[in-house]
């Protein structure tokens, strides 16, 4: 059965318990961070930070501050997995996309193939590193550490069907009773995300791409089109070589 996580922006209070729980369970080290003019800390994911809370300020009459807990989305069509040359990126039967540290070569192909820019290099081991949805906990019948630590129920975990039902119901209720039009993000994009977001605004407000692009390797169109155009160029250049080098053509 495929599992999923719900990140509900309407319930998140930005306490960062999820960040801490993630670091503790996955044995990630603390890092020196910089103040870049916001309360976000850390400001970006890294090889040691697999989860962070985005602080998003919007103005519609009153200033509104919302928080989005953010990590790997465990895409159904995972670009990182498609391009990985050594099969180091795998998927569990529960749908968690994880990196096998023993096989990863640190080639950084997945870093350039992820539409959400999630994987980062673990500077110590020089391999790619990202959230594994606490695959070991899920295999033991536990929920991911971030979901367990969340004090407000902003992070929910369960079967993907159940999570989608909850997300749709909440979005429908809130849209009817509130000022905003709520969005369920991640239902169908990229083969369906393993992390579903309930957003009070359009996805781009939270720097989530509305139509994220899978690397072309997933549908293989670019390999063929690029190779085909390359082949045409090769034929032209072969003819060019013949015209230039043929016997008696030195004049």
């Amino acid at each position: 059965m495929r599992y999923a996580m719900l990140n509900d922006v309407t319930r998140c209070i930005g306490c960062r318990s999820c960040q801490v729980a993630c670091k503790q369970w996955n044995d990630r080290k603390a890092e020196k961070t910089k103040n870049v003019g916001t309360f976000e800390n850390p400001f970006e994911l890294s090889g040691q930070t697999w989860k962070r809370v985005k602080f998003v300020e919007t103005e519609k009459g009153d200033a509104n501050w919302s928080f989005l807990t953010y990590q790997c989305n465990h895409c159904g069509d995972a670009g990182c997995m498609a391009v990985c040359p050594t099969n180091a990126i795998k998927r569990t039967k529960e749908g968690a996309v994880y990196i096998d540290e023993k096989i990863c070569t640190g080639c950084k192909y997945c870093l350039n193939a992820c539409p959400f820019h999630i994987p980062h290099i673990d500077e110590e081991k020089h391999i790619a590193s990202k959230c594994n949805l606490c695959a070991d906990r899920i295999a033991s019948g536990l929920m991911p550490s971030c979901a367990k630590a969340c004090p407000t129920g902003a992070i929910m975990f369960g079967s993907r069907d159940y999570i989608l039902t909850v997300a749709r119901e909440r979005a429908s209720f809130l849209s009817k009773n509130g000022k905003n039009k709520f969005t369920v993000y991640g239902e169908n994009i990229l083969g369906g995300l393993g992390v579903i977001y309930l957003l009070p605004d359009a996805p781009e407000v939270y720097a989530l791409p509305e139509r994220p692009k899978a690397p072309p390797a997933v549908n293989f169109v670019n390999v063929f089109s690029n190779s085909f155009v390359g082949l045409i160029a090769a034929l032209i250049l072969t003819f060019g070589a013949y015209a230039s080098f043929k016997k008696g053509g030195e004049k």
Binding site: A82, T86, T105, G106, H126, V229, L237, F245
Partner: protein, 276 residues
Amino acid sequence: MNVHWGLLVVLYLFLAGMAGGIYFTASFYDFFTGQRTNISKKGYTISFVLLLVAVFLLILDLERPSRFVHMMLAYKFFSPMSVGSWGLLFFGLNSFITVCINSEGALKPLGDFFLRIAPFRIYGLVGVALSVFLSTYTGVLLSETTRTLWSATPFLGALFLASGISCGVCLLLLIEKEDEVFLKQGKRFDNICLVVELSVIFFYILALTIGYGPYAETSKLFTGLYGLLFIGGGILIGTVIPILMNIAGMKGKVVPVLVLVGAFLLRYAIVYAGQQ
């Protein structure tokens, strides 16, 4: 945004593309002139050495040699890097065989052994096919990502192929001093490569402009430092000026040097701007 693929990868793409380009030129020079020339013998050796340097850079980027071996333990048809690693290995093996066959020294017995298996022409043609693969793959590798500048058009493979072959001819033109016939014919072939390269650049820019207009992600290749490197370095220094100098009949080693510098800057600009 972080730059994940830096100078080592740019150099790798440049040298691997050039290694393929030299082999392509040397092999076709032999093939179409019907003789095994000194310049092509030098070409095979340089191609092999450049490939070794390129692989060394790749290993430096991966930090451990064993990680390159990991690439050889898996074959993944849908990953251009996996397919490319195998292509690199086969090109390297074929290139080594070619060097042995053309060797007059310690490698000669090995070369004779390979000649008993197949005639030289076969190794040459297989090498040409692998060299086309190698030079094209350096572009296809970039296109299989979510970076708009790399993946939005189907032209990067052809661009890096034409540029790699052009670099290959130019390096041979740089080292050759005596073979007047090759100097004349090589220059002519170089001009054809440069015209093809310039045409592919035109279609690449056209596809980006039509597809994305002034969208910020693609505009990085045409403005600021990367714009200067791409337009001033890759296009003007690397193709337009050499074509005009060739047409004007200018002699000397200036044109090959300009082409090599331009080709490096072209790759540098595309790789770095694509990650901004």
